[in-house]
Amino acid sequence: MTDLFYNLVLGFGVAFSPWNILLCLIGALVGTLVGVLPGLGPLATIAMLLPITFGLPPVGALIMLAGIYYGAQYGGSTTSILVNIPGEASSVVTTLDGHQMARQGRAGPALAIAAIGSFFAGCVATVVVAALAAPLTSVALLFGPAEYFSLMVLGLVFAVVLARGSVLKAVAMVVMGLLMSMVGSDIETGASRMAFDVTELSDGIGFVLVAMGVFGFAEIMRNLEHESARSIVHAKLTGLMPTWADLKASSGAIMRGTGLGSILGILPGGGAVIAAFAAYTFEKKVSKEPSRFGHGAIEGVAAPESANNAAAQTSFIPLLTLGIPPNAVMALMVGAMMIHGIVPGPQVMTKQPELFWGMIASMWLGNLMLVIINLPMVGVWVRLLRVPYRMLFPAIIIFCAIGVYSINNSAFDVVMTALFGVIGYWLVKHDFEPAPMLLGFVLGPLMEENLRRAMLIARGDPSTFVTRPISGGLIALAVLLLALAVLPVFRSKRNEVFVE
C-alpha cells in the first residue's frame, strides 16, 4: 500500500511538471479537435498525430499521446451525441440516448455528464492500474515463451469474439494481419521474407501505414460515396450544466459503469467496446423504467461513457505489464513507444519507473484536462462539425500524407498507405472488420518469436502449449470462448448486442 502511494507520488511528480501539463493539455485539445471530425476514430487520430510527438522526449511524448487518446475518445462521444455518428465502436451505445437528449435540446447536460462520468471513471481506473500493475508484472515474470504465445492467442480470440459479424471472417482477418506482419526480414536469420525484392519492404510494413490507410483513407472513400447529409443538431446549446436531478440520476450509473469498465478493460481484445455495451445493457436491466432508454435517458449516456473510459484506461494494464497490446489503439501506442525506443513489457516498470508511473499519472491528468478544457469549448466543436465534409477531407488526407512521410522521410510509405486505403475499402465492402486484422498485424512478430522459442525449448513438440499449466489454461479459455461464440445460443445473443 505504501508502495502504491509512493509510486503514485513519483508519477504525479513527473506528470505535474509545467511542461508535461502543457503537453497533456495540447494533446487533449488536438485529440478532441481531430476526434470530433467525422470518420476519424481514436485510432486514425492517434496515427495522424503521432508525428507531432516525434520531437519530444519519451516521457513527454507518451504523456501527450495519452492526452490525444482521451481527447480523441471524448471527441468520439461528442459526435455521437451531436451528430449521431459514433467516432468508434465504443461510443456506438452513446448515440442511442445521447443523440436523443441532444434532439430534446439537452445536448449540454449529455456532453457534461459524459465528461464527468469519464473523469470519475478515469480517477478510479488510475488507481486500479496503479494497484494491479506491480502484482501483474510479477506474474509476467513467470511467463515463458509458451505462456506468452498462448496469452496472445487468447487476446486474438477475444478480438475475434468481440468483432462485429461473422466469427469466421474475423478469424480470417486475424490471420491476414499475422501474415502481413511477416513481410520483411526474419528476426532470427535476417532472411528477406515476402518482400518481392523491394528494398523499402525489407524492414517490414510500417504499422502506422496500415492503420492510417485502413482506418483513415478507407473511411474517407466510404464517406464520399454518400451525399453529405449529416443531421447536426442545430438547437442552441443552452445550459451546459446538468441539473441536480441529472446528477442524482446518473451517479449510480457512473459508478456501475466504472466498475464494469475497469474489470472488462483488463481483458485483452477490445475491452472498451464490450464494456460500453455491457454497461448500457446492465443499466437498462437495473433501471426502474427501462422504457426510458433509447429516448434520452441520462443514465444511458453516463453508464457507457464511464465504462468505456474506465476500460480504455485499464486496457493499459496488459500493455504495460505484459507488453501485449490488448486492442488496436494500444497496438498503436506500442508503435509509438517503439519509435521512442521503449519496448513495452514488465521491464519498463522496473527500469524506467518515472516513465511508467508518469504515464499512469498523466492518464488522470488527461481526464482532468478533458473536463476543464472541453466543456467550455463544446461550442467550438459544434462549429467545427458544421464545416462541410468537402473541405474537411482534403485536410485529413494531407495531414495523413505529411504525417506518414515524416516518419521515415519515405515517399514509398506514403503510397503504401494509399494502397492500404484501397485494401481497407475493399475489406469493408466485403464485410470484413479491419480491427482484428490490425491487432493480428501488431501481435504477429511477438507471436512468431515466442512460438519459435517455445517450440525450440520443447524440442519441436507442439504439445508444450497444452501441457504447461498456465499456457494450457489460457488455451483452454481461448477454445472455450471461441466455441461459445460459434454456438447458436450465444451467437444470436452476440448479434443482438451488436445490432442494438
Binding site: A172, E200, P394, I397, A401, D431, R459
Partner: protein, 220 residues
Amino acid sequence: MSGVDASPVTPQGGLKISNPRDFYGGLGLVLLGLLALWASRDLPGMQGFSFGPGTAPRMFAFLLIALGVAVLAVGYFTEGAALERYEISAPALINLAYIFAVSARTTAIWMVAAALLVGGIILAVVGLMGPRRNLVRGPLFITLSIIVFAVTIRPLGLVLASYLSIVAAAAATPEARWIEVIIWSAVLTAFCALLFVFALNLPFQLWPTNLSWQTLLSFH
C-alpha cells in the same frame, strides 16, 4: 450477416452467387494466401526442431487459404446481402505501378510498371466518363492525391506538393466548388507549412531546389 441456416443456392441463373460479399471476399483472401505462398517459396522451412524463416509465413498462408475457402463456401451456400458497388481497379493499378516503378531493377519490371500505369489511366478515364463515375471518383482521386504528394514532395518541396495534393483530393467529390478549392487549398497549405515546419520543426524542404526533369522522375 451470413447465418448458419444454410438455404440452398438459388437454381436460377446457373452460376448466380447468392452471397457475393462473402464469396468474392473469400476468393480475395485465397488469392492473397497464394501470393504469400508464392512469395515465400524460396525460404527455408523447418531445420530440425527450429523454425526456418519460411515456416511461419507458409503456416499462416495455408491457414489463410483454408479460411478463405471457408468464407467462399459460406458465400456460395448461403443467401446474403448484395454486393455494394465499388470501383477500385484504377487506383489499385496506379498504386501497384508506383510500387513496381520504385523497385524496378530490370527493364522488364519497368515495362510492367508502365503497363500498369497505362492500364490504370485508361480504366480511370473510362470510369470517369461512364455511368458510375461517382463511384470511381472517390478512391481514384484520393489515391492520386496521395501519389502526387509522394512524387512531388522531394523535388518540389512541401508547399507545392501539399497544394497540388489538396487540389487533387478535392476532386474526389462531385460537390467540389473550384474557386473554393483554390482558396481553401492555399489556406491549408499555409497551415501545414506553419504547423509542420515552423511549429513542430520537422525537417521539410519548403520550396523546390535545383528542379529538373531528372529529379522529378527519379523516385529514390
